[in-house]
Amino acid sequence: MNELIIGTILLGVVVTCSVAIGLLVWIQLRQTSIPHPVFGVISYFLIGSLVLSWISFIMRILSIPVIWLFACVLIAGVYLLTFIRKRTMKLLKHLKPGREIVVVGLCLFVLYVLLSLKTTMVSDGLFWWAFKAKLLYQQQYPLTRYFSEPSYLWSHQDYPMYFPTIQYWMYTLYGRLSEPITFNIIPWYLTLTGLWIFGFVRRYHGFFASMVCLVIFLFIPKIQEISVLHYADVIVGLFYVVAVTTYFLFLENPAHKSYAYISFLIGSGLFWIKKEGVILFALYLFLSFIFAGKGISRKTVGLWGLIIALPNIFWYCFLQKIGAKGVDFGVIFHSDRIWEILAYVRRLVKYAPYWGYFWLLFGIVLVVTARRLREKPYAYVTLAVCLPMAVYPLLFLFSSWEPYTEHMRTSLDRLWMQMIPVACVVLFYAVSDASKKHS
């Protein structure tokens, strides 16, 4: 329990700093139109945490203690409160939470506490993520040496650093290395995902239906599993649902360009959380480009795409230059695996204990509401779920594992889970009357 309290306080500091940075970035982009209060705070947190993560990673390469970063954030906070006070106040004025959000927030807080207490670590959590956090924390160890050392291949050197940097901040603030204080990170992201789903569905349904959607999402066994075993898929799920739904909101109301910009900024984080996120990032950019038109031209989307892909390019150039190697996927295409992959996908959809029927239900709803696919926003979110779901199984045609079925068995259902939050909101949006929006 002590670890949870300490972890919550430390995470609170990290979140506050991230929100401050996110707000600062947002103001610098000269955007004043903010979405729903819940949407606003979560967006600022995600944007800010991405910025902090990148800065702290670069600082670590340069061997600068990350504690300086928090000092800088404090200065940024003072800057926010003094130099641009009026604008900040104007933004903060909109952040009055409603009664419903407070109720849902309290429910989710209980869930956060329970999940944090239940959280344990599997190999992915400890040997891939916490190991990198330990590496970042050991200031005397040169980071470049780790990436170029072949004896660390086992730790998946090419895995991105978003999740480890959050653990690294918590260790830094705590003053020593302690894994249990970071057990609340994934439950925290799940809580935010729940809040986001509720907030989004509430636009189109009443309070009760929105709660039903939230409960369905939280009850999915695989979601429960990945939330307590220290997998990073929950984080990808949150970034993806926020990026996709904010772009959806923009498509619904092209006058609100700020939604599209939020979406781009948050979408840029997808590849920085999980290696497979680069596929999701590419598909997200592709869809955003295809559906652009009103409000934002394709040229603008292309330009933003280039800008937000820059960190991605930097990361891969860095890995390339330093000689880090990826081990999970190769360049050899194994076409003979296709039938086995399809058979596995069929088994996965039919697998009741993991709620595989959820995807069947999703398919049925899509067929029944096929006529609505003519609506641009609806077509966009639907494709945002279907496209990655179709592409992910094909990844295993390139798997280096032997047998590759083991690779597929341990990761495909987790990869699909990244789409569950979006799928939940699509399900509830599909059966809503889009013309009746709740404020």
Partner: protein, 158 residues
Amino acid sequence: MRLLVFTIGLCIVIVSFLPYSISDISGYTSSLFLQNEETMGLRRKIISQDVIDFSATIEKNQTGETPILFITGEGNNGKTFFELSYLLFPRTIYWISPSPKGPISWWNEVPLRNHDIDQFVRRYSIQTIVTEGAMDETLKPIATFSFQRGNLYQYSTL
């Protein structure tokens, strides 16, 4: 019509999931209320206390951050290697095994002959060797640990 289909689908999903969910939730609540904080803390650790103690002994017996050699026979699963690598970081651990190496095998394929091991030890200036089984009857380990997955022995090359 749309709402009806949706409701039926939802019922199917919920019914298919109920047995799993109830067993999980009951396990969940019992784990929360029936266990005290100490056992909870241990349960939340992926690394067994034995390996933590063993790595502490290695750290105590070893000077500086020189690399460590980890030797296993055939049919290994690597868990001990991951655990020791995590616990003993920033010391690099080199893993050798006579098993054939695959694309995602983390060991170096080396036949377990004295000459080959000796070469490896010299190349990386290794001071400590950890093995899953006893090495040679003439060599005496400086530490031995028995745990669920078997025995671990620590040897010094000095």
